[in-house]
Amino acid sequence: MEEMEFEDFKDLPEEAEQGTPTQSLDQRPVIQDLRTGRKYPIPSYPLFIGREKYSSICIPVPAISRRHAKIFEREGVFYIQDMGSINGTFVNDKRILDPIALKEGDRVKVGVTKKYPKGAREFIFKSNVSEEERLEKEKNEERDRILKEVGVTPGPAESKKIVLRHCVFNVAKKELVAIFKAEEYHRVPLLKLDIGHSMLSFLDLSSFRVRDTVTMSLEHPRLPEPLKITLRILGVNPKPVYGIIEHKCLIIKISEKHKAILENMIVLSDMICYMTSRRLSDSIPPADPS
């Protein structure tokens, strides 16, 4: 723990340090809350810890001052400074009076009081991405550079995969008048997607009829465009509560382009169980008043 002396606190940087603006937040050092596990990347401008709602790390408890401490970068070194708080800021259990440089694994504690010793919040400083991650990133950058030089652009298979459970599924009834009127999509929970057998099932609150043709739109922010799948309803199975209806469908159409995106960019996974039958029966009141 090296102490750094400043002649005047006014000398401390408030603006972004030059030379670091291109670094994205996921490459920045982080300060991790040991209670919640949440990681806060330290930006190129000062990060404030305090009770004030505009603080980067807002801890709304009385033991924390409105502006309690700040972490900032100067010439590539990260410092923590107590902002004159009543209960003090501690680094590795030592109260700090002047700004000090943070090292990998340093523990920062705020809100330490005699009355509520366990009410303190503790953070750990992690200086950067691990060496392994850095090497992997360099390797990928080198590969991308070579591919670019020889005129090859990585295809969807090279991209980071999207997990199916994190996609959003919207459905709309395919109407003959759809040419004149936009289809009204609404979001539904998907239960099962079996591309091999061209089968799919989803839950909904408004019932489609057997033999209806339905368009499903599969969406995720990282997909180049929503994937459209045309379905035929094979069966409807009403559940006992809330008017939930399970729809079993046959996939009747998906374009080659969208099928390729689905196969190359999406990892099939179990779907999220938005409602379990056990929890449904526990709910009060047992049925929707509507």
């Binding site: 922010p221 999220i272 526990d282 709910s283 009060i284």
Partner: protein, 206 residues
């Protein structure tokens, strides 16, 4: 900054709200009904007239945050990624409400809605109390809040000033997941009142 929540009809004026809020509420009700009609073919939003059944006021600006983070962690997701739309969660009605501002209706629907009023920059979060209740029940298996925390909740209100929160912290010093359990108990109480009386919960921060 304090967290406020009331259980009352959407057609009744929010206590201490400015006069123009009434028009705002009526327009909001209309938009919510339209959206519900698309999602579940029903315009029922709970009782539309009546008085406030329950009110909560807690001097804790990020009241729901720690419970939301706890829920995200047991679901192996990250709140920021959920907000960006990169991840989905089964606790969507609990996590997707941001900054403690929104409305929960006493009717079931799977996914929270966001209603944009003409003059408002940010859409209003609209969730479902039956769905939120099932999420809380699911969370209870991990959080195990039963018989752990006794809060001074009366039949029609719960008020916790900064000093009260300090006292609760002191009484339950060392309790694992104190803040998530605290939020859980308050939220569960609001949800039960909402379901039993078929009334929405309105949440905001002051």
């Amino acid at each position: 900054m304090s967290f406020r929540a009331i259980v009352q009809p959407l057609g009744t004026a929010i206590p201490d709200a400015p006069k123009n809020t009434v028009e705002y509420q009526l327009e909001l009700v209309k938009l919510i009904k339209n959206q519900l009609k698309q999602v579940k073919n029903s315009e029922y939003i709970g009782e539309e007239k009546g008085k406030t059944i329950f009110a909560a006021q807690i001097e804790h600006s990020s009241f729901l945050t720690e419970l939301q983070e706890f829920a995200a962690s047991i679901d192996e997701t990250n709140i920021e990624e959920i907000y960006k739309g990169n991840q989905q969660t089964r606790f969507n009605h609990l996590i997707e409400i941001r900054n403690n501002v929104g409305i929960y209706l006493p009717v079931f629907f799977f996914f929270p809605m966001r209603i944009a009023l003409r003059n408002d920059a940010l859409p209003i979060f609209v969730g479902s109390t039956p769905k939120l209740y099932t999420e809380l029940q699911e969370l209870a298996t991990s959080l195990k809040p039963q018989d752990k925390l006794e809060l001074n909740i009366t039949s029609d209100s719960f008020v916790a000033a900064e000093e009260d929160l300090e006292d609760y912290e002191a009484t339950y010093e060392g309790m694992q997941h104190f803040w998530p359990i605290f939020s859980f108990v308050v939220l569960e109480n609001l949800v039960k009142k909402s379901l039993q009386n078929k009334l929405p919960i309105i949440l905001w921060s002051l």
